[in-house]
């Protein structure tokens, strides 16, 4: 793109730094040997579910696991749809 184009064109001309940052975050995770992250996640999900099931009935289908990997912190979000619990003996 010419100087003119870069002055008046799109503001997001340089995409390479975005690419570099995305790769750094991704590869940092892939290189640390936590290769089988999904195994860990499925284990976590199964165990958390087990604990909850001791108290309330939950279907496996109603569990959503979401992840957002960041530079220093990752967010693991486990969403469990809990059915209405009937409290017995209420007047």
């Amino acid at each position: 793109m010419s100087l003119f184009g870069s002055l008046f064109g799109r503001g997001t001309k340089t995409s390479a730094p975005v690419a570099r940052d995305r790769l750094q975050i991704l590869l940092a995770h892939e290189r640390t040997g936590e290769g089988n992250e999904s195994d860990l996640l499925s284990k976590l999900q199964a165990e958390i579910l087990e604990v909850i099931k001791r108290h309330i009935p939950v279907e496996q289908e109603k569990v959503q696991v979401k992840l957002d990997r960041g530079n220093s912190v990752s967010m693991l979000e486990i969403d469990i749809e809990v059915p209405q619990i009937r409290t017995p003996g209420r007047p």
């Binding site: 999904s38 996640l41 569990v63 696991v65």
Partner: protein
């Protein structure tokens, strides 16, 4: 009724993943429910090109092996509500893909979506064969270059012999998507012309994607080119190809840069 597409080529690096992302997004933008599926087990990249690499929890292999439900492995695109991605596994190898497992997942995807777009791995082995096996329609991505055309010819032969449709005596629909085309070089006789490629491969043309800097920019940003710069020539070419997939009859052209008055005045011919 859901339609299963496979984006395939034989040769690597010709633009299968780019095309899967761009066509998937273009189809989803018309409001249809679309899932793009990465079949490149061990070397997944569709997640990266789609900008979903940080959100992968489960993958196709997890679903096949029963470690996760399909709904748990699907990642909803943050830009288009009707677009989802099913990533491949990065850590297992392609032997983890079983024919029965793939069949089961494909059946479930057919029930959930209008379009299932499968991104095939390069090569002609197991992974590529499983990616094409359940397809109703194949998009053969080809560069105007001798080795790519030769490999496409090979893949076309496989589509007509080893797919479920072919084995049942039917015929799989096939279209050519010519990518990285440079009209100026073709006019100068430096590049195979569209007619040459069509004559050799003799399958109908779905679209011509011009060589463009926007494609690299899109993958840098993690967005299908149809979303990152919708007015660019490759994005318009993909959007038109998607409309043809939906049955519209559009004349096939090679989109060119739309330039404003200023650019024309100051830059002349680029």
């Amino acid at each position: 009724m859901a339609k299963v597409l496979v984006v395939t080529s034989g040769k690597g690096g010709v633009g299968k993943t780019t095309s899967t992302a761009a066509l998937g997004a273009a189809l989803a933008q018309t409001g249809q429910n679309v899932v793009v599926v990465d079949f490149d087990v061990g070397l997944r990249n569709l997640d990266l090109v789609m900008g979903a690499e940080r959100r992968v929890v489960f993958d196709l292999i997890n679903v096949i092996q029963g470690d996760a439900k399909l709904s748990q492995a699907l990642i909803r695109d943050k830009r288009i509500e009707t677009l989802s991605i099913l990533p491949a596994s990065q850590t297992r190898d392609k032997d983890a893909l079983t024919a029965e497992g793939v069949a089961r997942v494909m059946q479930e995807l057919r029930e959930k979506f209008d379009w299932v777009v499968c991104d095939s791995p390069a090569g002609i082995e197991r992974g590529a064969q499983l990616a094409m096996y359940h397809a109703d329609h194949a998009i053969v991505v080809t560069n105007p270059e001798v080795s790519s055309v030769r490999d496409s010819d090979r893949i076309i032969g496989m589509l007509d012999s080893t797919t479920e449709k072919a084995k049942g005596g039917g015929k799989i629909e096939k279209h050519l998507l010519l990518t990285r085309y440079d009209p100026a070089r073709a006019a100068r006789g430096e590049m195979l012309r569209i007619e040459d490629v069509l004559e050799i491969l003799s399958i109908p043309l779905l679209g011509i994607i011009p060589e463009s800097e926007e494609v690299l920019r899109a993958s840098n940003l993690g967005a299908p080119v149809t979303l990152s710069s919708p007015d660019s020539p490759p994005a318009r070419a993909y959007a038109e190809a998607a409309r043809r997939l939906e049955g519209e009859k559009l004349e096939i052209t090679v989109p060119t840069e739309r330039r404003g008055l200023f650019a024309r005045l100051f830059k002349g011919k680029s």
